[in-house]
C-alpha cells in the first residue's frame, strides 16, 4: 500500500473514532444530529425537529469537550513517547517510564491541594506546574544516571527514571493520604479521567499540543539520525546537545501539560509509536504526527470504553489503557528478546 493511502485511511479512522466517542453512550447521537447541533451552537441557528435540547447539551457540554480532550491528551502522550524512544534509543522509553508523568502529577497535585495560582497566567497554572514537575523529574533522572554511569547508558537512564517515578508516586500517595478533603479527587485523578472536561481546558491544551507536535515533526530528521547513535548524529551535522535538550523539554511539556489536566495515563505513549512504526516505517517525519493521530484515536476509544462499559460508573481511563498496554509492553519486550537480531 502506498504511504499516501495509508495516511488517508489513518486520518479517516481517526475521525471515525472521534465520531464514535461523541456519538455513543447513554444517548446515541448520529452524525447528522451532531452536525446540526454543532451548527446551531456555532451560528445560533435553531435546532431541527426531533433533536431535544438535552441531547444538544450532552453533546456540546459533555461529550465533545471530553472526546476532544481525550484526543489531544492521547496525541500529546504518544508524540512525546515517540520522541523519548528515539532520543534515548530504547523502545521501552517513554515519558511514563522516565518519570515525567509522575513528576507532573506531583506538581499538579500540589497545585490542587494548595490552590496556588500563577499571577497573570491563571488558566495555565496547572499546565505550567505540571510541565515544570515533569521536566524537573526527567532532568533529575538524567542527572542522577550521569552520576551512576559516566557513559550515561540509556538503560541506566531508564532504570533511574523508573525508580524515581516510583519514589515520586509514593510521595504523591502520602500527600493524598494527608489531605482527606481532596482524597477522592486526587485518587481518581491519579488513575486519569476525562470526566468533567471543559472547552476552556481544550483551548489551553490545543495551543500547546498542535504547535508542539508540529515542532517535533520538524525535528524528525534529527531524531532519525540520533537513533543511529549520538556520535553518528554529531558527525552527520546535528547540533546534538541543543536538539536533544529541546526535544526532551518539548516532550516533557506535552506530557506534563496533558497529565496536569487529566491525570496519569500510561501506555499510550508506549503503544502508539510502536504500532505506527510497524505501519509507516521508522522515519520520524511520519512517526511523530502519525503517533499523535493514533494515540489520540486510541485514547478516545479507551475513554469510550471507560465511560460505557460499566455505565453509569465512570471507570478510570488509565485502567483501560493499562489493561491493553501491559500485555503489549510485555510483548514488545519479550518479543524483541526472542527475535534478537544481529548487533
Amino acid at each position: 500500500m502506498k504511504r499516501g493511502t495509508k495516511i488517508t485511511i489513518s486520518i479517516a479512522a481517526g475521525i471515525l473514532c472521534l465520531l464514535l466517542g461523541m456519538g455513543l453512550g447513554s444517548v446515541f447521537i448520529g452524525p447528522g444530529d451532531m452536525a446540526a447541533i454543532v451548527k446551531s451552537k456555532l451560528t445560533g441557528a435553531p435546532l431541527p425537529e426531533g433533536v431535544p435540547a438535552i441531547t444538544s447539551s450532552i453533546l456540546w457540554q459533555l461529550r465533545m469537550p471530553r472526546a476532544v480532550m481525550a484526543f489531544l491528551t492521547g496525541a500529546a502522550l504518544a508524540a512525546s513517547g515517540a520522541v523519548m524512544q528515539s532520543v534515548l534509543r530504547n523502545p521501552l522509553a517513554s515519558s511514563y517510564t522516565l518519570g515525567v508523568s509522575s513528576g507532573a502529577s506531583l506538581a499538579a497535585a500540589a497545585v490542587i491541594l494548595t490552590g496556588f495560582t500563577l499571577p497573570m497566567l491563571g488558566g495555565y497554572t496547572l499546565v505550567l506546574c505540571g510541565f515544570a514537575g515533569g521536566l524537573g523529574t526527567v532532568f533529575l533522572a538524567i542527572g542522577l544516571s550521569a552520576r551512576f554511569d559516566r557513559n550515561l547508558e540509556n538503560t541506566t537512564v531508564i532504570l533511574t527514571g523508573m525508580v524515581l517515578s516510583l519514589f515520586v508516586n509514593a510521595v504523591l500517595t502520602l500527600l493524598t493520604a494527608f489531605s482527606r478533603e481532596h482524597l477522592q479527587q486526587l485518587i481518581f485523578w491519579q488513575m486519569g479521567s476525562f470526566a468533567g472536561q471543559s472547552w476552556r481546558n481544550c483551548g489551553v491544551l490545543v495551543t500547546l499540543v498542535v504547535p508542539g507536535v508540529l515542532l517535533l515533526t520538524r525535528f524528525g530528521r534529527e531524531m532519525d539520525l540520533m537513533t543511529f547513535g549520538e556520535e553518528q548524529a554529531l558527525s552527520a551535522g546535528v547540533e546534538l546537545k541543543r536538539v536533544k535538550f529541546m526535544l526532551i523539554a518539548l516532550a516533557a511539556l506535552l506530557t506534563g501539560s496533558a497529565v496536569a489536566f487529566v491525570g496519569v495515563i500510561g501506555f499510550v505513549d508506549l503503544i502508539a509509536p510502536h504500532v505506527v512504526r510497524r505501519i509507516f516505517g521508522g522515519s520520524h517525519r511520519l512517526v511523530v504526527p502519525m503517533s499523535a493521530l493514533f494515540g489520540g484515536a486510541f485514547m478516545v476509544l479507551a475513554d469510550l470504553v471507560a465511560r460505557t462499559i460499566a455505565s453509569p460508573v465512570d471507570l478510570a481511563v488509565g485502567a483501560v489503557t493499562a489493561l491493553v498496554g501491559a500485555p503489549f509492553f510485555a510483548w514488545v519486550y519479550f518479543g524483541r528478546r526472542r527475535g534478537e537480531r544481529r548487533a
Binding site: 534529527e222 547513535g229 553518528q232 548487533a343
Partner: protein, 257 residues
C-alpha cells in the same frame, strides 16, 4: 588538507593524546596503527570534532572547533562499526539521512532534486539500487555495512574517517569496503584516514602509516621506509613480522585447485 598542530585531548580523566602534530593532504589515504589504548580512536574523534581538544585542528587552514556542526559535516564524515538498528528505516531513507546537512531545513524542508540524485548515485555505486525499499532489519551484515557506506558517501565529504568499520564483516566485504575507499580517494580530492585493527587490511587501504603509542605518534611515513621487524615487535609487544611471515607460509602452501 587536514592538519593537527600540538593537539592534546582526552576524556575528563586526563589526556589520552599528547602533542600530536600531523597533516593529511587531500588525495590520499592513511592508516593509523598501534596497540590497543594507544589513542587511535581518540585521534579520529578529535579530527571529527566529537571531543574537545587543545592545540589546533585545521581543515584547509580553518580551526574546526569554530565551525557549525553542519559546516563540519559537509566536509568530514565518520564511518564506524555498524550499530544496533532500532527502527525499521528503509535503505533509501537511511542513505538520504546522509544528505541532512545539505537539505533545506524547517517543517516543510526536505530533499531537493540534487539530494535525490546524490542518493541514487550513492546507491548505485555501492550496489544497493535494488534494495532501496528494504527495511534495514531485513538486511545481512554486509548489506547493512554498504548502506552505511552509502550514507557516508551521500554526505559528500572531503574527508572520511574510518573507525573500525569492518568489525562485523566477513573477509570479502572487508576487502570490498577498503578497496572502494581506496579508489574513492584516488581522484586527488578526497582523503581517508582509517583505524583498522587488522594490519593487513589497513595496509591494503594505504601504505602511508602513522604508528602510535601511548597517545603519541612515534613514526609516520611510508610503511616500507619506517617499519622494521624490531620496531614492530616493540610496538605491538609481539613479533608481528614473524607472525605475518608465518601466515604467508601457510598460504603459500595452499593449492590453487
Amino acid at each position: 588538507m587536514l592538519e593537527l598542530r600540538d593537539v592534546c585531548a582526552g576524556y575528563g580523566g586526563g589526556d589520552v593524546l599528547h602533542d600530536i602534530s600531523c597533516a593529511f593532504p587531500a588525495g590520499g589515504s592513511w592508516c593509523v596503527l598501534g596497540p590497543n589504548g594507544c589513542g587511535k580512536t581518540t585521534l579520529l574523534r578529535v579530527m571529527a570534532g566529537l571531543i574537545p581538544h587543545r592545540g589546533q585542528v585545521l581543515l584547509d587552514g580553518e580551526e574546526i572547533s569554530g565551525m557549525k556542526r553542519r559546516q563540519l559535516a559537509a566536509r568530514v564524515a565518520v564511518m564506524s562499526q555498524v550499530n544496533t538498528v532500532y527502527f525499521p528505516y528503509t535503505v533509501y531513507d537511511t542513505v538520504m539521512l546522509g544528505r541532512y546537512q545539505h537539505m533545506r531545513r524547517g517543517l516543510f524542508g526536505g530533499p531537493a532534486q540534487a539530494d535525490r540524485e546524490a542518493v541514487e548515485r550513492c546507491l548505485a555505486s555501492t550496489g544497493l539500487a535494488e534494495l532501496s525499499d528494504r527495511p534495514l532489519n531485513a538486511l545481512s551484515g554486509g548489506q547493512l555495512q554498504r548502506v552505511f557506506l552509502a550514507h557516508t558517501l551521500a554526505q559528500d565529504p572531503d574527508v572520511i574517517l574510518l573507525d573500525e568499520p569492518t568489525n562485523h564483516l566477513d573477509v570479502k566485504h572487508q576487502v570490498e569496503l577498503v578497496d572502494y575507499l581506496h579508489r574513492w580517494c584516488a581522484d586527488g580530492k578526497h582523503t581517508v584516514v582509517g583505524v583498522l585493527h587488522d594490519v593487513n587490511l589497513a595496509l591494503r587501504l594505504s601504505r602511508s602509516v602513522l604508528f602510535m603509542r601511548e597517545g603519541r605518534i612515534v613514526r609516520a611515513g611510508d610503511f616500507h621506509d619506517i617499519a622494521d621487524a624490531a620496531f614492530l615487535r616493540e610496538l605491538f609487544g609481539m613479533d608481528l613480522a614473524g607472525f605475518m611471515r608465518n601466515s604467508l607460509q601457510t598460504w603459500q602452501t595452499v593449492r590453487d585447485g
